[in-house]
Amino acid sequence: MAYTAQGPIRPDSDVLRARIPGWGVDLPPQPPSDQEESAPVPLPEAHWEFPDLQPENRPRERSIEHKMLTPVFGTAAPLKGLSGAIRRHAYAKYSETRAAHWLLLLGADRVDAIEHHLASMFTLRPDNPITETGVKSEFTHNGFSSRVGRKRTDLSHTWIDPILVAGPWILFGVAVVRGGGTLAARLRNRRN
């Protein structure tokens, strides 16, 4: 088709209606129900103008873009440890528009994982990378045949994925071992 004012030929609506169950049932005059209502009306089920306040049993971090602590909030994992301190700083100092806010939170997530992995070593249930990664399912749910002979684009980066995922943990482990060795050597030298 040359570049004229004519658009492509549209399929016949009656044919589509016959072929596809429900074709066109949401065409106008069905009112749209997607984004904003034209007239702002609170939901009738909300029997308050402003909700009761959930008790703040411990100081709750919040975005500095908020005027106040919201009346309801989650309490799944309160701040604690070094990761908690980093998160508290990210919330107190940087707004959501700053990359520093999100990068600190992402960094705190990694610190949080390290804190918990180390702490788990001193419990009766240490972290177990075999069971916790679910990698057993590779053997029970067709790990090989789900990949080989299939045109999966993710296979192009499969080789680098373990390096990127496990690499930082291995480097951290090496750093801890080397740091520990250096410290032990210094202590020995001091005694001698």
């Binding site: 429900g22 989650g74 799944a76």
Partner: protein, 382 residues
């Protein structure tokens, strides 16, 4: 109670946690009977979402039975069988009053750019989710609805996010009769978006992915034409050829932050976390749609910046529409479509996994093993 617990990127396990308590007068505690793993749960699982804390429980798609209610709850009774939208919302703030339930201002102290979501990091409010035996449900008078007797449990479960979000994605496309609609991503949301596009009068629906088994589902479940982008040198050129070199009228990004198909984008976003998401599908959508067309985005992205081809969107005069789905707004119409037989949501469910095998469930879904499209979690104790 037993609950799925996050232990760090790619690691989760089942733990005993205290049964959640009523923390606000309008809370309810719901005993979970079915939950699902959503594609967006994988962003948390892969460590992409900032402020995902060790010890939290994921799961924003769940149904259950009311176990306990707070003193101000008027609309629910203990024993009611309820479906719970993934959004937590108050129903009374500036945004809720305008139907933007997913943008509620009263439920998420951690961020103003997103509302509250069950089990979706502290960036989304710090609430535990429903991949557990029990879950706290705030604003119990506003969010949950009693499941009609005639509705199947699995269909109800899929109404809490995947179906509503897919339908919403098609709505955001402003589809006109006879339009050509291209959907990027043949996961649950993409399949539902493709199916919904027909209800809105689309003339052609084309679904694009790289997983052949999902494209097969798009053909049989959603009556769509399909393209495997691995077969094309350039998917955008292929799309232009398929649409008389004008482009599609509407493009829907149903892939989101972990879209694959470009090594650099995928690795920098998904593995190195240097972007809020890998915008491959979004960039293809922008370049595949015609000038003056509409791009709808319902695939989820994180709060950091992403390398989006904004100049192309600007120069083509596109309309970009996006949001987290305000789930409850969609329920009346979707319930009617299910009742009339136009939609059968649980046709896409491929795996039903006991809660004690949740780590395997995540790996199967994440690694796309065993032709997995939609895994459902069943807490056996309930």
């Amino acid at each position: 109670m037993r609950a799925m617990v996050y232990r760090g990127p790619y690691k989760i396990r089942l733990e005993d946690k205290p049964i959640p308590a009523i923390e606000h007068p309008n809370d309810a505690i719901v005993r979970v009977t079915k939950a699902a793993i959503c594609g967006s749960d994988l962003h948390l699982y892969h460590g992409m979402m900032p402020d995902t804390r060790v010890g939290t429980t994921f799961g924003h798609e769940f149904i259950g039975v009311v176990e306990k209610v707070g003193p101000s709850v008027q609309n629910l009774l203990v024993g009611d069988r309820v479906m719970v939208p993934f959004n937590i919302f108050c129903g009374s703030c500036y945004f809720c009053a305008r139907g933007l339930y997913s943008n509620c201002h009263n439920v998420n102290p951690n961020a103003t750019a997103v509302g509250g979501i069950y089990g979706y990091s502290h960036t989304c409010g710090g609430y535990d989710g429903g991949q557990a035996e029990f879950v706290r449900v705030p604003f119990a008078d506003v969010g949950p609805s009693i499941i009609p007797d005639w509705l199947d449990d699995e269909d109800a479960l899929l109404l809490t996010d995947a179906l509503a979000t897919g339908y919403f994605g098609a709505q955001l496309g402003n589809i006109a009769e006879g339009d050509t609609v291209v959907v990027f991503g043949a996961g649950p949301v993409g399949l539902f978006a493709a199916k919904s596009a027909w209800l809105m009068g689309a003339g052609r629906v084309i679904v694009i992915d790289h997983l052949e088994y999902r494209l097969e589902k798009a053909r049989t479940f959603a009556h769509a034409e399909t393209i495997n982008f691995v077969d094309c040198d350039d998917i955008v050129v292929k799309m232009k050829r398929t649409t008389d070199h004008l482009g599609a009228d509407v493009a829907i990004d149903a892939a989101g932050a972990e879209a694959d198909g470009n090594f650099l984008q995928h690795v920098t976003a998904t593995k190195l976390k240097l972007q809020g998401g890998s915008p491959i599908a979004l960039n293809w959508a922008i370049d595949s749609v015609r000038k003056g067309g509409t791009v709808s985005v319902v695939g989820a992205y994180g709060p950091m910046f992403s390398a989006v081809k904004f100049g192309d969107a600007f120069n083509k005069g596109l309309t970009l529409r996006m949001n987290q789905c305000p789930v409850k707004r969609e329920w009346p119409r979707l319930l009617s479509h299910i009742k009339n037989g136009y939609l059968k949501p649980n046709d896409i469910v491929t795996h039903r996994i006991p809660l004690e095998h949740i780590a395997e469930g995540y790996h199967i879904f994440s690694a796309k093993l065993d032709d997995c499209i939609k895994p459902i979690i069943v807490p056996t104790a309930s």
